[in-house]
Structures are given as C-alpha cells and as structure tokens.
C-alpha cells in the first residue's frame, strides 16, 4: 500500500544536489540528478548516522561528508569502505512541480 508524501518543490533542489527531508521520525535524502531525475534514500549514512544531505552529489553517487563513504543513489548500494551497508531507497514521483516520496 503506497503512502505518497509531499517532500518539497522540485525547484527546492538544485541539479546535482541533495536536501534533507524529515517525516514522522524518518530522515530522508532527496536527490535531483541530471535531466531532472529525482530519487530518495535513507537520509543517514549507514556507517555512522551522518546526514547525507551535507554530502556531495557526483553524477549518480552521493559522498558522505564525514568519511567520504559513497553510495549509488538510484539503488542505494554502498560502493566501498567505510560505506559497507546499502541505503534504503524510496520511490519518488514529481507531480505539478512537487516531489512526492512513497514512505510505505
């Protein structure tokens, strides 16, 4: 059962960037990649719970600001030490300029 939640306006995120979105005790990272592709993952690094929204988006990779651990944004896959545990990913859609995330 889907639970679509409005996270932000599409224009709130610059291209190749990420913002933090908190909802009901869950922290997410919402990404806007090239060609207006939007994604959402768990917002905390699986290594030491640092907010990924303070990190750097490079192509389709997010780099954690604390120890430079990297994750593939579309799949959440950890790309090597010290990031060893994958991020949870969430479905995203954009409707009428708003970014919606399925938290179900």
């Amino acid at each position: 059962m889907s639970e679509w939640i409005e996270a932000c306006a599409a224009d709130d995120i610059e291209e190749e960037d990420v913002i933090r979105f908190d909802h009901g005790g869950v922290t997410l990272a919402i990404y806007r990649l090239e060609n207006d592709r939007f994604f959402a993952t768990g917002g905390l690094c699986t290594h030491e719970n640092v907010h990924l929204a303070d990190g750097l988006v490079m192509g389709k990779t997010i780099e954690c600001p604390k120890h430079n651990g990297r994750f593939d944004i579309p799949t959440g896959q950890a790309k090597g030490a010290p990031a060893c545990i994958n991020l949870k990913t969430y479905p995203v859609k954009v409707e009428a300029g708003r970014v919606l995330v399925d938290l179900a």
Binding site: D17, L56, P65, K66, H67, N68, R70, A81, P82, C84
Partner: protein, 363 residues
C-alpha cells in the same frame, strides 16, 4: 595562543583503544560525537568540494617523474658520493611525499576518477608501509574521534611523549618495526585487539591478503639484493621508507602535537601551518589541517580557498613550520614531566565558540 596546566595526572593517560579511557570516552559522550563546524553557504561549499582530475594528475606525473629521475641518477652514480643527494631526494619523494598521497587518495578526494585514487593510494601505502585496509579504517576512526583518548588510533604524540620514539621515527625506525610485526601477524590471518575495534569483519580478508603481498614484495627485494650482490634494489624499494621518512615526522607532528585532547572542536586540537610551495607540493596541502578535519570532503587543491573562507572563525594559522615548532618543542618537552600540560588555542573574539557542554577537558 595560551597554555594550560590542568590538575595533575601522574602517569599519563591510557591511549589504548580497549582500556579504561576507551570506556570513559564513551561514558563522557566523546565517542562518535557531534563536532563544531563553521557554517559555509551550501553553494560555496559545493564549489569547494568539486572534484577534478587535473591537479592530481599533474602532481602525480611530477612526483613519479621525479622519482624515476632521481632514482635513475642514484643508480647510475652508485659508488660515488655524488649519488647521495639523488638518493636523499628519491627517499623524501618515496618515504615522505607518500604520506600525503595515501592520505588524500584514501579520502578519495585527490582525483575525481575513483581508480586513480585507488591506484595512488595503494602505491603510496606500500611506500610508507601502511597497510591500505588497516589504515583506511584507522583513519576513519581518527576522523570520527580526532584526538579523543581511548578512541583515536592515530595520536602520534601522546602524554607523556615518547621522545626517543619520535627521534627514531625521523628514520621511520619505530613505525616500520611495528609495521613489520603487524604484517607478520596479519599474514597469519590475525588482527590485534585494537585493530579488531575498528576493522569490520567483512574487511578483514583484505588485510590478510595484502599483508601477504607486502611480505612477498619485501622478500623479493631481499632475494634480488642477494642475487645481484648489491644494495641497489633495497635502496629503491623498501629502505627509502626509512632513509626518506624524516619529513613525514617533521610535517606530521605539526598536525596535533601539544594541543588539547578530548575537545569536540578541530580548531582547538589541530594546526594550520603556512608552508612554502615546495613543502605544499610534498605535503599536498595537509598543512591546512584544521580545514581538512572540519571538511574532509574538500580536495587538497581547494584547501587554501577553504582556509580563506573560514579563517575568521579559527585561531590564527602558524606563519611557518618554524613558528609551529617554537610552540611544539617546549610543550612536548614539558609534557614529559607534566603530562597535563597542553597548549590552548584561543579563538578570535568574533568566532562562534564551542558550547561548554561539548568542550570536555582531560580531567
């Protein structure tokens, strides 16, 4: 800057990662804590964090080119005293410049391209005899818990300081001795108790495999020396870690020695030291150490710009290596008899101070 002598601590502190101080650091909320960070507008920070291949390709080509040039000259002139300066230069590039290369590439920030970071990281790790997986994880902990006693495995000048060890490390004697012992341990498929606290289970097979490769390379060098009846193979591979390692210590000690322990603010436990362009090439701007610790995702070539962006919030940078040592040497000598003594860095009057509840002091 000012200095302080806190209540007396007779025998120094327990720097082990599995001892009483390790438990105490956790109880005091110093483990994996939240650290002070100077606010920088996101747009500016993104620009500073931007990755490039160009600067590191240029610097690596220069570095490898100079290694080949000086190494070849040393070999060609072997047996004449004129070979000595070439081996000195080769040794510094091998045993000291490798320190910054493993460091920056370990963070994955030197190059934009991942495999280039990995290639230079592995080469530099071998040159300085730091096992890549072990040091990746120990350095991760160093960034989580910088100079937190009982947590940080990379506190190089402890209290009281081991002056003899520091002097031996001018030629990497103590570090290499321990590194060789650990290689043997790891090659046998084991870690020591401290390493087990920061290297996850899933990464350990890499430690064991690399230790065996390192030992095989070192054994091949010894065999080559015996077969050729010559020291030349060892002068090119292995020994430069020792005879060329002195600048690692000269530069490295400036990072944290003599400053506060157990504070959650890199402005108080790290130094930024201005250096000349040659030193900054050799050290890949690691002299901007406050900046590096506060924003580890900023590549080395952007650290001078980061320094400009945050310096109003930081204690003044040291104008030279000499100025840094004018503070470090007396502080470290005094810590031999007074382990509580440390230099307290004073923030500019306009800077945002760390809230008192996060300014734990070594009591």
């Amino acid at each position: 800057m000012s200095s302080a002598a806190a209540p007396r601590m007779a025998a120094g502190r327990d720097y082990s990662l599995v001892g009483a101080e390790a438990r105490r650091a956790e109880e005091r909320g110093l483990a994996s804590a939240t650290w002070y960070t100077t606010p920088i507008p996101r747009k500016q920070l993104k620009e500073l964090m931007r990755r490039k291949d160009g600067p590191a390709i240029r610097d690596t080509a220069l570095w490898i080119g100079a290694l080949i040039l000086f190494g070849s000259a040393g070999v060609l002139l072997w047996g004449h005293w004129v070979a000595v300066p070439f081996f000195i230069a080769y040794g510094v590039l091998y045993g000291s410049a490798s320190d910054s290369r493993w460091h920056e590439c370990g963070h994955g920030t030197a190059f934009k391209t991942g495999w280039m970071n990995d290639a230079v990281y592995n080469l530099a790790c071998f040159m300085i005899m730091r096992e890549p997986t072990v040091w990746r994880w120990s350095h991760t902990r160093h960034h989580t818990d910088t100079i937190i006693v009982g947590r940080d495995p990379e506190i190089s000048v402890k209290r009281p300081p081991d002056i003899l060890g520091l002097l031996l490390n001018l030629f990497a004697i103590k570090t290499t001795w321990f590194a060789l012992g650990k290689l043997v341990l790891h090659a046998r498929g084991r870690l020591n108790a401290e390493e087990a606290t920061f290297i996850p289970e899933m990464e350990r097979h890499k430690v064991f495999r690399t230790a065996r490769i390192y030992l095989a390379i070192l054994a091949a060098v010894v065999i080559a020396c015996m077969a050729l009846h010559s020291w030349i193979p060892a002068m090119l591979i292995g020994l430069p870690t020792l005879y060329g390692g002195w600048l690692t210590i000269v530069f490295g000690v400036t990072q944290h020695a003599g400053l506060s322990e157990d504070v959650l603010d890199h402005r108080l436990n790290s130094r930024t030291v201005y250096m000349n362009p040659v030193s900054r090439f050799l050290y890949w701007n690691m002299n901007y150490h406050v900046e590096h610790h506060m924003f580890p995702m900023v590549p080395y070539h952007a650290l001078p710009a980061l320094h400009e962006a945050i310096k109003a919030e930081c204690p003044p940078a040291y104008p030279s290596l000499l100025a840094a040592y004018r503070e470090i040497i007396p502080a470290v000598l005094r810590q031999r008899r007074d382990p509580d003594y440390h230099v307290i860095r004073v923030l500019p009057a306009t800077a945002t101070a760390l809230p008192a509840d996060r300014l734990a002091t070594a009591a």
